[in-house]
């Protein structure tokens, strides 16, 4: 058997890669993909612990996270495509029409 530790460690690394992507990259699409990595790492932890605790709650939570991810993708990509139409760019550092 593979101990649960390994799965949690793996998910921690995946989570950090996602955080890194969000904080480092400038392209809105890549940032959003990195967020998906973060959500996936959380799902992995949930399933791993669901395996440990033998309950359904963990798996059900993953189901809802996926639902939310789908909803977020619909909204987020609509926003990204809309902003590309008006600015011809999806670089968040170039989004500076708002400055104080």
């Amino acid at each position: 058997m593979v101990p649960v530790t390994y799965y949690v460690a793996l998910s921690a690394v995946l989570f950090v890669i996602g955080v890194l992507g969000v904080l480092l990259r400038r392209n809105a699409l890549i940032i959003f993909m990195s967020v998906e990595l973060m959500l996936n790492s959380a799902n992995l932890v949930f399933v791993a612990f669901a395996r440990l605790f033998e309950g359904l709650a963990g798996q059900v939570f993953v189901f809802f996270v996926m639902t939310v991810a789908a909803a977020e993708v619909a909204v987020g990509l609509a926003l990204i495509v809309a902003i590309f139409r008006s600015k011809r760019s999806v670089d968040v550092d170039q989004m500076s029409s708002l400055k104080g």
Partner: protein, 480 residues
């Protein structure tokens, strides 16, 4: 599922069904008459408010402990329904003037209010998570509602990316909490934490959840894009967002931190202390340099998140916490009224294409429109915390509670930053009265009602604050 279960969520269920029905009814309403949709949305919110106030029952959980109905939930839900009503009132004329009058605006606003109300009633991390998303996703859209205007789209996208990032932290934090305790129910977490077998994993989970909420309620250092979002979003949306998201975030912090994670206070009190202090300092200092009124109010909103966060700093002290949370709830009421009033004045002076938003555009307001200028003065004084306004009373209760908890340093920082904030709030007043100018305002019945009623409430309640504070205390004390 019994009738009791449904009764627990009755106002929320009515609101959601109303929102869905509104989506369909809106199709029958001709393009130029979307004001009817606004009235219907307001009617739904008024009904929700009435049902919330009429809900009488002892505290109890429903749906297998997923949601709870108690005094706190009823108080916060009533405040949220009021927030929604004020949000509709501000939007009614504004969206028409800005050419973004669409029925979806009101549907999304109702969905967002539903998410906020659910947050106040959540007793399980699954519900906390879904409520957080239900309130956020409509807000992303509302921020971008003036598309294809670039500033609005940019605000929507930035708010979305920030929110999605925050969601990542919240979900991972919940996952670790689940791993530490084997449950997502808040009462289960309390039980597991008091057994002492949760350990470090729970602490890290709680910290990650705190980071996520920090992004959502715009606490320094998680505030990066908030000013951009507040500035770029349509003003009516910003007003709703600033108040609603704070109330819901506060409710979530109370449920998750005040109750479930109270055993972690040894580790987290210092973090909350730092976040609160940083938010007050940075928010107020950055506000000084602003010349755009929307951006100024955005930084002011960040600073106020810091004051509200103060209420949670004593969260490990079971004697002080009820008092400080009651003070926090009272402060939220004060902030909500003041915030909507101030934004109503901003909207009254805002022109198309983002003009009329510079502080210089407020010159001469005192001479030309004395009533409007007087109302704005009241709001600025209230945000600063000067008598005779609700803001002062709120700060007084808050600082008193924090001092009772032994956090003198935090109270001192609160007072000092309030002094700093006087500089930029009073500058608005000075510009209004001391400088010559020819401002043009918009006069719409609902808008006028919003600022006039808010100004009256801010002054009058401050003269007799005790009943409201007693109500807030009663709502909160039952929790502990």
């Amino acid at each position: 599922m019994t009738q009791a279960d449904l009764y627990t969520l009755l106002p929320l269920i009515v609101l959601v069904i109303w929102a869905c029905a509104l989506l369909l009814v809106d199709l029958l309403i001709p393009r130029g008459r979307k004001g009817i949709t606004a009235f219907l949305a307001a009617l739904g919110l008024a009904l929700t408010l009435g049902l919330t106030l009429a809900q009488v029952s002892a505290a109890g959980t429903a749906f297998q402990g997923m949601v709870v109905l108690d005094g706190f939930a009823r108080f916060v839900n009533a405040l949220l329904a009021l927030t929604g009503l004020l949000g509709v009132g501000l939007a009614y004329g504004y969206v028409r003037r800005m050419g973004i009058e669409r029925g979806e605006y009101y549907t999304l606003l109702l969905f967002s209010v539903a998410g906020m109300m659910l947050m106040a009633q959540a007793a399980d991390l699954i519900v906390v998570f879904l409520a957080l998303e239900l309130l956020s996703i409509p807000l992303y859209i509302l921020a971008a509602f003036a598309r294809p205007k670039e500033t609005s789209e940019e605000a929507g996208l930035k708010y979305f990316l920030l929110g999605a990032f925050a969601t990542g932290f919240v979900v991972y934090g919940i996952a670790l909490t689940f791993g530490a305790t084997g449950t997502t129910s808040l009462s289960g977490i309390i039980a597991a934490a008091s057994n002492g077998d949760a350990g470090l994993l729970l602490t890290i989970g709680a910290a990650l959840i705190l980071v996520g909420f920090g992004f959502k309620v715009a606490v320094v250092p998680f505030h990066m894009w908030t000013p951009d979002v507040y500035q770029g979003a349509p003003s009516a949306v910003t007003a709703f967002m600033a108040a609603g998201a704070k109330i819901a975030g506060f409710a979530a912090l109370l449920r998750v931190f005040g109750l479930a994670f109270s055993s972690l206070s040894a580790d987290l009190t210092a973090i909350l202390w730092t976040l609160s202090a940083l938010t007050m300092i940075v928010g107020n200092i950055l506000a000084i340099a602003q010349t755009n009124i929307k951006r100024l109010l955005a930084y002011s909103s960040i600073a106020h998140a810091g004051y509200i966060l103060m209420a949670f700093v004593p969260f490990g002290n079971a004697e002080v916490l009820p008092v400080s949370v009651a003070a926090g709830v009272f402060y939220l009421v004060a902030y909500t009224l003041t915030n909507f009033g101030a934004w109503a004045v901003v909207i009254a002076l805002e022109k198309a294409e983002g003009r009329g938003l510079d502080l210089d555009d407020y010159a001469g307001l005192g001479r030309k429109y004395p009533a409007l200028a007087a109302a704005m003065t009241v709001f600025m004084l209230s945000l600063t915390g000067v008598p005779p306004t609700l803001g002062l009373v709120g700060k007084f209760y808050l600082f008193r509670a924090v001092i009772a908890g032994g956090f003198y340093g935090l109270a001192v920082i609160g007072v000092l930053t309030s002094l700093i904030s006087a500089y930029y709030y009073l500058r608005v007043v000075v510009i209004m009265y001391m400088r010559e100018g020819e401002p043009e305002r918009v006069s719409e019945p609902w808008l006028n009602l919003t600022w006039a009623a808010s100004a009256l409430a801010v002054v009058l309640i401050s003269l007799v604050p005790a009943p409201l504070f007693a109500w807030a205390s009663q709502a909160v004390f039952a929790l502990f």
